[in-house]
Symmetry: C2
DNA sequence: CTAATTTCTTAGCGTTTGTTAACGAAAGCG
DNA sequence: CGCTTTCGTTAACAAACGCTAAGAAATTAG
């Protein structure tokens, strides 16, 4: 099955005709290392399926720092969700960490499909709900647990692949600590692999 | 207009017949102070519109602490979103902070309406999207800014009403700090009302 | 393959936070 | 209305974090 159709199929079964309507919108795109899929301020809203490579999402802070908040790998859907949903300039950037291949389509095409096909509307609902519970889980982790506990939870999770492909300073930002502090936490955890989990 | 219909109307215009289908499911409920709408482990999934009063949402932590992560006031929709969407036991509790009046309906009734009425499915999508961008904004605030900066942002926001009706130790948890630390931050900010914002 | 750049670690220092505890104020309850 | 409980502030101490800087290690680019 087409990788995008397979992605959607995890949420809804798409009739052939509906799929073809989306397929007609797809455009391949290659990103070099460090090239952008979205830059802060962008108003041309696009969605993409990542076929090969890896990307990071980050927010620029007033002091010039770029705070990385998320990563995308193969068969992830990427977009500036806030920009698309509000139809506003993007507050964030999405940038390739490696040479990356994408399948891109305009967000406006998706909203047209929402109007035309109830099955797409359902997909849109399930997709938003899926991301919502993931984001809420991550927010509550930030509010409930210490940086060290969050790192231990990351180690114990299936997301360990994040660690493998991503520079550690970006993982640090993902966990909400500075690179220096993250290095100390790593040393601490390596010395004492078991508890504490709080 | 009925307050629930007015709430939904901010997202979609509901035909009379569709509205009546939902209206038939509504049940009023009163909560005393400290009474629960959802308790951790609950499997009977319900949604409610808050008509009068206030509630807090909190996660129980392994050490016994209850970490408050959200508040609900008049004309807010409340539910254990993770529990409803996953059809799993609730990981969190929702508890009345004041005597509270609710209009309750089963989450299963909503999913039936999703099946029966495309306009409800659209409402469900927009509702999830709306909550997603709110949650993502809050997560990125946690990752980007210091506790003091988050408190200053809260002061500058329209959410100042949170401060008024809610015990400060719960606001502290909402910001991701302990009550003692929050008290110090408040004193610091009161001494120096302007910067720093970082 | 080598040179340049970036990344990771470690250290020192000042600041902030968490914890515990005590006291006073405020609010709930009978 | 008075009693009890909860809540907010402050203090003291230990632990953790952010920042700066320097050296080592790894990666990238030519």
């Amino acid at each position: 099955m087409h990788p995008l159709r397979a992605y959607i199929h995890r949420f809804v079964a798409l009739p052939d005709e509906a799929w073809r309507a989306l397929e007609a919108e797809l455009q391949p795109r290659q990103l070099k290392r460090h090239e952008y899929f979205v830059q802060p301020g962008d108003t041309r809203h696009e969605v993409a399926l990542l076929l090969r490579g890896a990307c990071r999402m980050f927010y620029p802070r007033a002091d010039g720092e770029e705070v990385t908040t998320y990563f995308f790998f193969e068969n992830h859907l990427l977009a500036s969700y806030p920009a698309c949903l509000r139809n506003a300039p993007s507050p964030l950037a999405i940038q390739a960490l490696e040479p990356t291949e994408l399948l891109v389509f305009p967000y406006a095409a998706l909203t047209r499909l929402y109007d035309a096909w109830p099955v797409f509307e359902r997909f849109g609902r399930l997709l938003a709900e899926y991301h919502l519970i993931g984001t809420e889980e991550r927010l509550s982790e930030q509010l409930l647990y210490s940086p060290e506990a969050r790192y231990r939870a990351l180690l114990a999770s299936s997301k360990t692949k994040i660690m493998a492909r991503i520079p550690q300073r970006l993982v640090a930002a993902y966990l909400g600590v500075t690179p220096v502090s993250f290095s100390r936490i790593r040393a601490r955890v390596a010395r004492n692999p078991g508890p504490p989990a709080g």
